[in-house]
Structures are given as C-alpha cells and as structure tokens.
Amino acid sequence: MTSGTGPRGRPGAGRGLPERGLLLLLVLVLLEGSVVFPLGAASSPDVDPRGHSEDRAVAEESQNYSKKAFPVLSLDYHHIHVPFEIALWVLLASLMKLGFHLIPRLSSIVPESCLLIVVGLLVGGFIKLAGEKVPPVLDSQSFFLCLLPPIILDAGYFLPIRPFMENLGTILMFAVVGTLWNAFFVGGLLYAVCQIQPGNPSDLHNLELLPCLLFASIISAVDPVAVLAVFEEIHINELLHILVFGESLLNDAVTVVLYHLFEEYSGAGTVTILDGVLGVISFLVVALGGVLVGAIYGFLAAFTSRFTSHVRVIEPLFVFVYSYMAYLSAEMFHLSGIMALIACGAVMRPYVEANISHKSHTTIKYFLKMWSSVSETLIFIFLGVATVDGPHSWNWTFVTVTVLLCLVSRVIGVIGLTFVINKFRIVKLTTKDQFIVAYGGLRGAIAFSLGFLLEEKHFPMRDMFLTAIITVIFFTVFVQGMTIKPLVELLAVKKKQEAKRTINEEIHTQFLDHLLTGIEDICGHYGHHHWKDKLNRINKKYVKKCLIADERGREPQLIAFYHKMEMKQAIELVESGGGFKPPSALPSTVSMQNIQPKKPAAAKPVQRALPQLPKGREEEIRTILRSNLQRTRQRLRSYNRHTLVADPYEEGFSDFIIKKQKIIELEKKIIHMNNLTLPAAPPDSPTLCRARLASDPQAYRPKRDSVPTIQVDLASPQSPDSVNLMDEFRANGSRREEEEDQGLTMRPRGEDGRREQLTRCLSDPGPSADEDEDEPFLP
C-alpha cells in the first residue's frame, strides 16, 4: 500500500495543487508512522513536503495560462477536487484503522477512539504547519447527513431488541429525565458560577442564562458514537451495555428539543410557562414523530422486500435507502432523526431478514459494519482536526467548571434516578452498575457538531463554548475511556458471555416466556409478559402475513433458530475444507446413536450371543463405517456449496435439511444394521462384511482411481495406523474433489447415484427412502 501511494504522489507533486500533494504525502508519512512506530516518527519527514508545496504553488500559476497546441496530457484537479479529497480522507481513515490493528499491544491499552483523535490532531497540525486552510471537515452538514446515519443505522439494525425492550423504562428514565437534569443542573450552576465570580470582571459576566442552558443541553447528552467505540472494546455485560447505549440513542429527542427551544429563545431572552409547555409537547412530537416516521419507512422496506425475490442484487439497497429516507424525512421536520433510524432498522429487520436471500443478508451486515466503522474513524479523526483548526478561546474558569459540573451532575443524576428506578425494577441495579453507567457517560462528536451549528452573531461566546465542548469530549474520551477498562476489571463487573446461543438455551428461553406468561395469566394480572405475548400473536397473525412472502419465513422462532444453526454448521463445515474434523459446534465423539433410546437394549444381547468379529476388528469396521458416513454427509453439504455459488441458496436449503435428516436416519439404520445383521450373517461374516465394505468407497467416488489406496487398506489386515492413513488420503481426495466441483454449479445426478449405490451396497432395505431423496433434486 505504501509503495502504491508513493508513485501517485510524485506526479501530483510535479504540477499539482499544493493541498493535493501534501495530503498524499501526509497519508504516506502517517501510514509509515503508524506501522513502524505509531506517532513519534511521523513528525520528522514533514519538512520535506512543505518545501515542495511552496514551489508547486508558483509553478501551477504560470502553467495554467500558457498556451499549447494540443494538451496531450492535461491536469484539471478542480474537476475532481471534492470527491478526490473525500476518497483520500476515507483512505486515511481506513489505513489508520488498519495500522492500529497491526499493533495489538497499543490497541489493548489505549482505545481506538483516543488514537484516532491523536491522529486527527497530527493531521490537522500538519495542514496548519503547511500554512493551508484546514478544510471544515466536521461541519454539521456533512456530519449529520453523511457520517452519523451509518453508525446509527448499524446500531438500530443490530439492536438487541429483547434486552432493550425489557429495560425500556430504565433507559427512558436515564435518557429523558437524566438528560434534562444534566442540562438544567449544569446550565444553572454554570450561570451561577459565571455571575458570582468577583475577581474576574471578564466576559463571563455577560453570559446570560439561556445561552448557558443551551450550552448545557448540548454538553449533557451522552454520545452514541463515543459510547459504542468504548463499550465495544470493554465487553461489558448486556444489561449495562444496553442501559448506557440505549440512553445515548434515546436522549437524542431531548437534545433536539432543548437545543431548538433554547436557540429559539436565547434571541428573545425570556421563556414563559407556555413555552415550557410547548417544549414538553414538542418533545413528545419529536420523539414519537421520529419513531413513527421510522416505523413507517421500516414497514415500507419490509413490504418492498417481499417482492424482491427475482432481483436479489438490489435487496440490500432497499434497506439502506429506506433507512436513509427515514432519517432525512425526520430531519426535515426537525424530528429526531436518530430515533427514526433506530425505529426503522429495528422494525424492518425481522421481516426483511425473512424475505431476503442469505447472501443479501451478509451483504447488508458487511456494508453496515463497514460504513459505520469508517464513519466512526472519520468522526474521531475529524474531531482531532477540528480541534487544531477551531478558533479557540480558552477560559480556565469556564472550562474547569464545565468539566466538573458534567461529572458531578452525571453522578448525582445516575444515583438519584437509580434510587427511583430500583423501586420499580425487579432486577435491581447494584452500586457497581450505577458506577459504570455514570462513568460510561461519554460525550462526543454530536455535541461538537451541535456547538458548531451555533451562529456567531447570536452567541458571541461560541468559540468559548466550542473550546469547552472539545475539552469535555477529550476529557471523557481520554480519561474515562482509557480508565474504564481497568476499572471494569478492578470492580469485577460481569462481562459479556462470548458463547453462542445454543439450541437448548433457545428452547428454554421460549419455554420460560410461555411459562411466565402462563403464570401471569393464572395470577390474573397483565404484566410485561402478557403484553409481549399479545404483541407476538398479533405480529404472527397479521403483520407477518402481509410482510413476509415466503412461507418458511413465517415459521416459529424456534424452528427458524434451528434452521439457522444447521445452516451455520453446514457453512462452517464446507468452509473448513471438507476435512475430517467434525463441525466445531460438536467437538465430541457423541453422535446420534448415543442418544437414541431403545436400540442398545435390543441390539446388544443378540450381538454378544453370536460368534463374531473380535472386538478390535469390530471397532475398526465401525470406524470405517462411521467415517464413510461422515463422508457422505460432507459430500451432501458440499453439494450445498454449489448452490451457494449458483444463486438459489435458500431454495436449496430446505432440500438440504431434508437430505440431512435422511442421512441421519440412514446412519441410524446402518448402525442398527451393523449391530444386527453382521452377526446374523454366516460364520465367515467378517470377510464377507469386509468385502462389502471394500466396495463401499466406490459408492462415494465415481472416479475410482482418484483414491486407490482405500481398497488396499480395507482388504488388508488393519492396524489403527492404517486407518488413520486412509483417513488422511481420503481427506486429500475430498479436497481435490472439492476443488474440482467448485467449477460446476450442481451435480445432482452424480450425487444421487452415489447415494443410491451407498444404500444398495449397505443392503439397506429402504427403496422408499431413495425415492424420497430424488424429489428435492428434480427441478
């Protein structure tokens, strides 16, 4: 990458605009800096580009007006100026992210957000040193319309609905009452401090109450971007995560209303009771309106996705466009865009996921993650750049008091609110929880952008506000963000369980839901579970019918979960290269036969009674049989990969499920047979059986010559080693076949033939099963 940027930089340097070449070189320099040693080295080579840039500026001036016969090669930088720079910034951000992850030691100590801010500071510093005007990177327009939505959509789309709804009351309490409290507490005290200070007859005395409140309302909201960035790294438990993160999302409505309210009236100077009442109404309108707009677009998106089955490629686009429309529509009416996005994402997700193809789902996931992480990186870098750039007016008193008040009000607010909330909560918040909630109240770029929006003429103290906002952001992101991880360790706060959800947990979650609903019904009062159950039922009965095209999409949650799990296992298996190791989900030797009832009782006595294979040989045969069976299963799964290569993965999926069940059944039968029919055969059964087994591999392989060793192995007296050897060979063979197969889209006949042979040679008396299996393959 470094060498790739280099050559492009030089031609630009020849006659390019100063900014251009400078930025390119900066990327280069910073990249090198971040890879070798993060920040220190970056400062040394910067003398160089600056010298060049001065020359270039002169050169360019003369070049533009000179006449030439025909410009074989001409330069028109202005033409591409804006997109080029945007691309450059994105590139810088991505490279930085890349760079940090190459130094794991650094990223384990310092949160990424801090590092990115530092990078931003450096970049800003270079631009300033170069004597250039720093581009207004973090202006509110681009921030609110381009950078913020991807992050919020990502958060909304992947919002863990269940914990969110279970804690909605607490979250709302923190988001609404907490933010209000913060705003008024900070604003009021700040105003008081500004007034009572006798020793300092400075501008602070001119500060009125309303600008103070406005400033406080900007600074009091917890920022989702900062919270996400820090909390993703500390892996805190679900409850605390959703409390802080949910608060940061939902307080947007409060901030929007307070902001507009105070901005409106700080010109007029007074606020009446009526304005307060209007403010409350406005809050309801902003919040509920945002949710409503989001929900409408969410349902529209879900409805649209119902019909996309023929044009799979554009499915992801609908998700993005509808959500963005929701955001813009909400912003248009000054409703809460963040809440609209959250609502839109959360509403559309279940239906869209049921409708769209598996690949589209992956696409959505990756696009959202990509966009949001780039946006986040950019935001933090821009925050650094804007810090260097911004006109600052540092006022010790104001800044210190702001930081202190922010901390104090947060702590008081959380403790006070928890005291109230705990009266209603069933699972109480402990002191530790309260501490983390209070400490996790990070401020971020939204506050800065809102501050940036203020107009100079209405707010003469704008620069001071901005400086204070930046200080608070830096304080929370750096001090709190860096210390929260050790503190979480120190306090032994419960961490998130990394383990995936198992099918048993899913079953019991469902069971518990119904059980609690039932108990509530018996108790005769309608609580949480009752309403949830009712909503679920309505959802299933009406909404899903309208919004989900496919019948399969409407299956109950448990079945859907099971299918998803099966699919994941299948994919894992295919991805593992079709080797011989069992799927990672089941790393044990336990198989279906171990849990099947009735069989052992029936089979064992018979087996013992007859003269038969010595114990060791029996084991061998069983191993061979089992591994062969596994092979078949893998063959069938790799068949699925072709359908993944070809388009209709989902269409093939149900077939796959049926097939898999068949295989399991087959396995059962075979084991059964192994137990029962082997001894029942004539005394020479070992050889006969072996002969039968020897024919086995042919069944799996149409090309007999591809793995010739197998027959030798089977026919000869075996040792455990030779079995292993065989396995290895077979694994190789399978990989080879895997590769060959990839070129083709499907080979149903071949598969089927193989299966038929398998069943035949195992003398399975199930012709009916064969017929069944044919069906899914027929077009």
């Binding site: 947990e505 119904h514 509530e520 018996i522 309608y526 949480h528 109950p556 079945i559 044990s588 009832p597």
Partner: protein, 249 residues
C-alpha cells in the same frame, strides 16, 4: 366472612414467613385463588383450564400440571414445619430432592390443591432481591431450575429422557401447525445431542446417554441466568382496582 377475618390474617402471616411473599401479595393471590376456585378451599385442574387467556398458551398443560405435581405437595408438607424462609429454603431444596427420590413410586399428580400449595408454586417465581447474598442467589437459582426440571421430567425418575424432551419441544411448537410437529423431533434430537456432547464429550459408540440429569440441566442453562429471569411481578396493591399492568422495568 367476618369471623374468618382474623384467622386468614394469622394464616397469611405464617405463609408470608414461609414463602417470602409480602402480606399484600398473599392477600392478592388469595383473592385470585378464590376467584379461580369459585370460593372453594381447593382448586382443580378444570378451574385453571378455564382461564381464557391461558387457552392460547402452547405449554398450558405443563403449566397446569406443575401446580398439581405431587412434589410440590411434598414440599408443602415439609414446609409446614415453619421457619424463616431463606436459610431454610436453601436446605429444603436438597431435602426435597431426596424426598422426591425416596417416594418415587407415589410421585404423580393430585387432583386438588389448596391455597398453600398454590402459593408454594407461585413462590418459585419471586424475583431476587438486592440484599441477597451470593449463596442465597445460588440457592434460588437451583430452586428455580429444579422447578423447571421437574416440569420436564414427567415420570420423576431424575432424568429428562429424549422422549420427554421431544414432548416438551412438541408442546412448544404445538401452536404452529404441521411444520412445528415435523421440526420438533429434529430440534429435540439436536438439542439432546448438544447436551450429550457438552456434558460427556467423549463417548464410545456403545455408550448410551440416558437423559439429562439435574446437573447437566444446570450446566446447559448456565448462560441463561435463571435467577434473574424467571420471575414475574407480583402486585403489592389490589389487582381489582389497578388492572392495567404497563409497568416500568
């Protein structure tokens, strides 16, 4: 009614000591009990089956069954000794276990239960409190899990067999038509396989996994944090006046 006014008070206090409910909650539950039983002293299966909102519940049978399980009755007898609830509850979990195994033959269901027993079943759904120590929480978790386990273990032999597990899943999916029934078996099998492989990772081909024991059951549900999830809100105030239950939690 007037004569019996003092006695129930006394009785309620006694019950409150044993179950950990508050007096108000017991009064409310008693009201509900009488409403369900039609002012009788005991309640029958039919009474519970006639609750209209319960009709849609896929596991209705099991829920109602849990109320009439003999083991709950045994618990009642045992609890009748009367003692402060927490340390006592802790022990009782174990005693109950032994008792149930002892009387394996007569475990089953009864037809009628009294209010005390009704309350005992309900007490499994009490939320944990902030003051509880880690040990008490652990005891509570075990007790709740034991209740769930007994719901699944229909023949009371101490294990949930594959057949029993299949039945549970079938019930769960019983409201979703034919797809549900088809999938139920596969899901139960997969789940059983998962339990077997997590608990007994190495198993020879001849071994047989009989079923989920209570220890394995605890193991697989470790991630669910039952102690903080298996609870409902018991109202402290009169239910008849405050019907709507949209509560902040």
């Amino acid at each position: 009614m007037g004569a019996s006014q003092t006695r129930p008070e006394h009785r309620h206090q006694d019950l409150a000591d044993r179950t950990g409910f508050s007096l108000e909650q017991i009064k409310n539950l008693h009201k509900r009990f009488q409403q369900l039983s039609g002012d009788e002293d005991t309640i029958s299966k039919e009474n519970l089956e006639s609750i209209p909102t319960l009709a849609n519940n896929p596991i209705r049978k099991q829920i109602i069954g849990a109320f009439f399980d003999k083991s709950a009755f045994a618990e009642c007898l045992l609890a009748a000794g009367g003692a402060p609830h927490f340390p006592y509850r802790h022990q009782r979990g174990f005693i109950l276990f032994g008792l149930r195994n002892q009387h394996r033959g007569e475990a089953g269901s009864c037809d009628q239960i009294g209010f005390e027993q009704f309350l005992m079943v309900m007490s499994h759904f009490r939320p944990p409190t902030l003051k509880m120590t880690a040990e008490e929480k652990e005891a509570m978790r075990r007790e709740k899990l034991r209740f769930l386990f007994n719901m699944h273990d229909t023949d009371n032999d101490g294990t949930i067999t594959l057949v029993e597990y299949r039945k549970v899943v079938e019930e769960l999916l019983s409201k979703s038509g034919s797809i549900g029934q088809e999938a139920a078996e596969a899901i139960a099998d997969a789940a059983m396989l998962e339990v077997a492989s997590t608990n007994v990772p190495t198993m020879g081909p001849d071994d047989f996994y009989e079923g989920i024991t209570f220890e394995h059951f605890e193991q697989i549900l470790k991630g669910l944090e039952m102690e903080s999830r298996m609870h409902i809100r018991f109202l402290d105030v009169d239910t008849t006046t405050m019907r709507c239950g949209k509560s902040t939690s």
